[in-house]
């Protein structure tokens, strides 16, 4: 007979609610969508590629390889810090749930991580944004370019998924071989991970507090970044999964999670733009044009396509890479390194030639309410999400578009 176990205290039960098992993706989507509104209300919406680009510019300027003028140090760049805190928040989430380990994959996977990250960097710099800035924030920002970027992502994901299937068939050794898993918690043990998690959490609180007197916006970006990392790790919120899985395993839960986040963001972003919330000294027009980038339509389409290919090969988009870095997935460390190293290079050497090739009519700011009103734009986005939802659910049942 089993020994009667002592009932856990309410705080322990609460801790286990958050860190005992994974959250449904849609819960993650709703909370991330809400935090995205908060970021916009405080300053500007969520983005990831800009922050990683800031890391890369700091690397290059510190070694003097490329002369980039006026590079903000990471600790003074809101998005550089937001990205850093996503990594730290995910690290804390992984430690609290005893899921942290250095997971070192076979060499072929490491190379794919680096290449995927580099391709993503090109896509993000050409398309002006990644799956977060140009999609998860861009669509609720009612940007026409964001919708084209989304189409590009879909095409890129389908192309790269076909490549992965081909590679697994023809070159299975690329994804097999010696791997290592270090510092993993043993079953029913690993209390050190929870202790380390608390130490890092206290560190984040101290860090956030240290900016209170000088830069209160940064304090909030640190707190929100930390929460975003933790929530992404616990819910395994992954935009690659949302786009890829319907065409791979046919599953829809990743896509539904992203849709939940988009819908929440849509309500909040529309209110902020419509009422000019947080416009302060700037004009209401400048506020409503926030996250509407000059990439409609070709620039967004090309960027989305390239980014979609990169994120599928890497196995994580910009933010999916960041939170997987935090839980110790070394393939995604390579992806982050590829992203941060290639991003400044692409900005200097690739983006200007793409810009020269494309006329203004292929790279302008398209704010949907200017053409169909706020009501029409919101209705259009909701209609697209409903069609997407119907498609993934129908496909999940029938498997018509799934590879297996």
């Amino acid at each position: 007979m089993a020994e009667p176990t002592k009932e856990s205290g309410v705080l322990v039960q609460l801790f286990r609610t958050f860190f005992g098992k994974h959250w449904p993706v849609w819960v993650g989507g709703i909370v991330l969508g809400t935090l995205n509104i908060l970021l916009f209300a405080i300053k500007s919406p969520w983005g990831a590629s800009g922050g990683i680009n800031n890391w890369g510019e700091n690397v290059f300027s510190s070694v003097g390889l490329i002369n980039i003028e006026s590079v903000a140090p990471v600790n003074e760049n809101l998005y550089g810090m937001l990205c850093l805190l996503i990594v730290v928040g995910s690290f804390i989430g992984a430690l609290f749930s005893k899921e942290f380990a250095f997971r070192i994959p076979p060499r072929g996977e490491l190379i794919k991580g680096f290449i995927g990250g580099g391709i993503m960097a090109i896509g993000a710099t050409v398309g002006i944004g990644c799956t977060i800035g140009a999609f998860f924030s861009g669509v609720p920002a009612l940007s026409g370019g964001a919708l084209v970027f989304t189409i590009g992502l879909f095409i890129g994901v389908i192309i790269a998924l076909r490549y992965l299937l081909w590679e697994m068939d023809k070159f299975p050794k690329w994804s097999s071989g010696k791997s290592y898993n270090l510092l993993a918690a043993k079953p029913n043990k690993g209390g050190w991970q929870i202790v380390l998690g608390w130490i890092f959490l206290i560190g984040v609180i101290i860090l956030a507090y240290s900016y209170v007197g000088s830069n209160l916006t940064m304090t909030w970006f640190i707190i929100i970044g930390g929460l975003m990392g933790m929530i992404s790790q616990r819910s395994r919120f992954c935009i690659v999964k949302a786009f890829r899985d319907p065409f791979m395993s046919g599953e829809s839960h990743g896509a539904v999670g992203v849709m939940a986040g988009l819908l929440v963001g849509l309500v909040g972003f529309t209110a902020i733009k419509l009422f000019g919330i947080g416009a302060e000294d700037a004009s209401i027009r400048a506020r409503e044009m926030t996250w509407v980038f000059p990439h409609f339509w070709a620039k967004a389409g090309i960027g989305g396509l390239i980014f979609g290919i990169g994120m599928t090969i890497a196995g994580g988009c910009a933010v999916g890479t960041l939170w997987r870095v935090g839980e110790g997935q070394v393939k995604l460390w390579m992806s982050a390194i590829g992203f941060l190293l290639i991003s400044p290079i692409s900005k200097i050497f690739i983006v200007p030639s793409v810009d020269n090739m494309l006329p203004h009519s292929m790279k302008y700011k398209n704010f949907l309410p200017d053409y169909i009103g706020y009501d029409g734009a919101v209705a259009l986005v909701i209609a697209i999400i409903i069609i997407w939802y119907w498609f993934v659910k129908w496909n999940e049942k029938t498997g018509k578009f799934s590879a297996f």
């Binding site: 697994m168 079953p187 395993s249 995604l332």
Partner: protein, 76 residues
């Protein structure tokens, strides 16, 4: 319980474990049993969902030392 095939996905990140699993299952007969070893935390929630969707049976999911999850799946 006789294991027909063991699939080693240790060290691999999403989506490789799921892709390799789907490919391996295609090569098995109904009733065959596949043992999968993985270290990606995502597989702990992805594979039960995939089994439910495809009608395959997840017979066992256990945590081994070294952060390895062992899943035993029977093909339908």
């Amino acid at each position: 319980m006789e294991i027909t095939q063991t699939l080693d996905c240790k060290g691999l990140s999403c989506p490789m474990p799921m892709m390799k699993l789907a490919k391996a299952m295609k090569g098995l007969k109904s009733g065959d049993i596949l043992e999968m070893l993985g270290t990606d935390p995502g597989t702990k929630s992805d594979i039960p969902k995939w089994c439910e969707k495809t009608g395959n049976t997840l017979l066992e999911a256990t945590e081994l030392s070294g952060g390895v999850t062992r899943m035993i799946i029977q093909k339908n």
